[in-house]
Symmetry: C2
Subunit: 263 residues, 2 copies
């Protein structure tokens, strides 16, 4: 009986997040319901990471072992026929039964999108953090973002209530882009071997402090060194965050050149 | 008392279209309600063109004469504070009272977006025509699209029930692009001095016949020459269509290089 690695895209708006909850609709719950239906027996689905409520994914990865012979193409079609349009299985691939979506992951890439103009495009509403007012200093943000690359203790950027054993993570790349859309869109991309809860959104909150000129770029390094969450900025809202890609094996993709929310 | 030229963007999903109707929410109706509220007296708003139900706009233009002194910036802010987030006034400019949004328009540019892949991105759902199955022949579509440039009688691409006095229009540019998004997205852009009802969607319906290989590119010329709507293809759905820009004066912008649905 086959085990599949699924690549899943979803518009997180209105969902309670990846993980199945007591109340509300989760992506994991939707996938488990569909796979259970297909297999005729309760079928768990394991994700590479738990995206929070309202966070989007272009390339979440999940593993599922099906008690039924089925080929990958048929699985994709059958799953998408049952899932709501906001959730799509974009690929399925047979993998060894030992494959673990979460523990085997070696790199994840996230993007965060900020709309930095007074008028918010109606097409961007659910996919950005809207920051009207003066233009963010992208050069300062870029300098600050680069300070996060390498292996560091990211305790200062971890949300409260986490249970991670270690708060050390290795960041392969951390970069601010923002020339598209007449300067309205500021895009942050970060790739690392793992992320703590709210880590990307807390980093973005701090980068925005720098972009607004309230703190110098070097302040990000001070926050990092403090290992103290209370030193950082606010947590950026969920809507701007996209899980772009999960990798297994050596990290080699680099950051996406641009981060369209269309996949 | 000032007259304003408003540039308006909207996500047309769920609206009955630009024009005020007996039932349902229209963009014109929303704008008239807001302007009436601001002016304290019934205030009509005239659009450059009537987009149909479900059609989007990145740069619709409207004219409004306000019986109240107000500067452009304040007007933009006040309007957006009252409008739903799906409709945004992105610019306001004082113009002579004689300005007419519709009759003075010299060029309009539309884009039409097709998602040509089996799995539809959850982020593109309301902004494309989803055509799964074999890849469309973009070269054939490009050749066919070019045949529409110039001054022609477009009666064959006019929807029934129109009351246009003349069905002649001049098309400045008509082009198919489609390299972005791993080939999933096929984008059609057309600029002309005016458009008949359903004209762009009917043209796209015919281009898709060519893209599917059911007709050769030259067939588009035959349909055009027939002046007979029954010779053409189906009408493409509203969701893929965007009014990108309305111009006053000489046409000189050319087509957008890409047609992101974000503005």
């Amino acid at each position: 009986m086959p085990t599949f690695k699924l690549t899943v895209a979803y518009d997180g708006t209105g969902f309670v997040g990846w993980q199945r909850q007591a109340a509300g609709t989760s992506i994991q719950g939707l996938l488990e319901d569909v796979m259970t239906e297909l297999a005729g027996t309760p079928t768990p689905v394991t994700g590479a990471g738990r995206t929070d409520a309202g966070v989007h994914a272009r390339g979440q990865v999940a593993a599922v072992h099906l008690e039924r012979e089925i080929d990958a193409q048929t699985l994709v079609r059958a799953a998408n026929a049952h899932l709501p349009a906001a959730v799509r299985v974009i690929d399925a691939e047979v993998v060894p039964e030992s494959f673990h979506a979460r523990f085997d992951a070696t790199a994840k890439t996230y993007c965060y999108r900020i709309w930095n103009a007074d008028v918010l495009s109606p097409f961007e509403r659910p996919y950005v953090w809207h920051l009207p007012g003066p233009a963010l200093d992208r050069d300062a943000m870029r300098t600050a973002a680069a300070l996060l690359e390498g292996r560091h203790d990211f305790a200062a950027f971890q949300g409260t209530g986490s249970d991670a054993l270690s708060t050390e993570r290795r960041i392969f790349a951390s970069r601010v882009d923002g020339d598209a859309h007449d300067g309205a869109l500021v895009e942050y991309a970060i790739a690392g071997d793992g992320f703590l809860r709210y880590m990307v959104r807390n980093i973005v909150g701090a980068l925005v402090e720098v972009g607004r000129g309230r703190r110098p770029p070097a302040w990000i390094g001070e926050v990092l060194a403090s290992r103290d969450r209370s030193q950082g900025g606010r947590t950026a809202p969920a809507a701007g965050l996209f899980l772009v890609r999960v990798e297994y094996g050596a990290y080699n993709h680099g950051l996406p050149r641009r981060t369209p929310h269309v996949a």
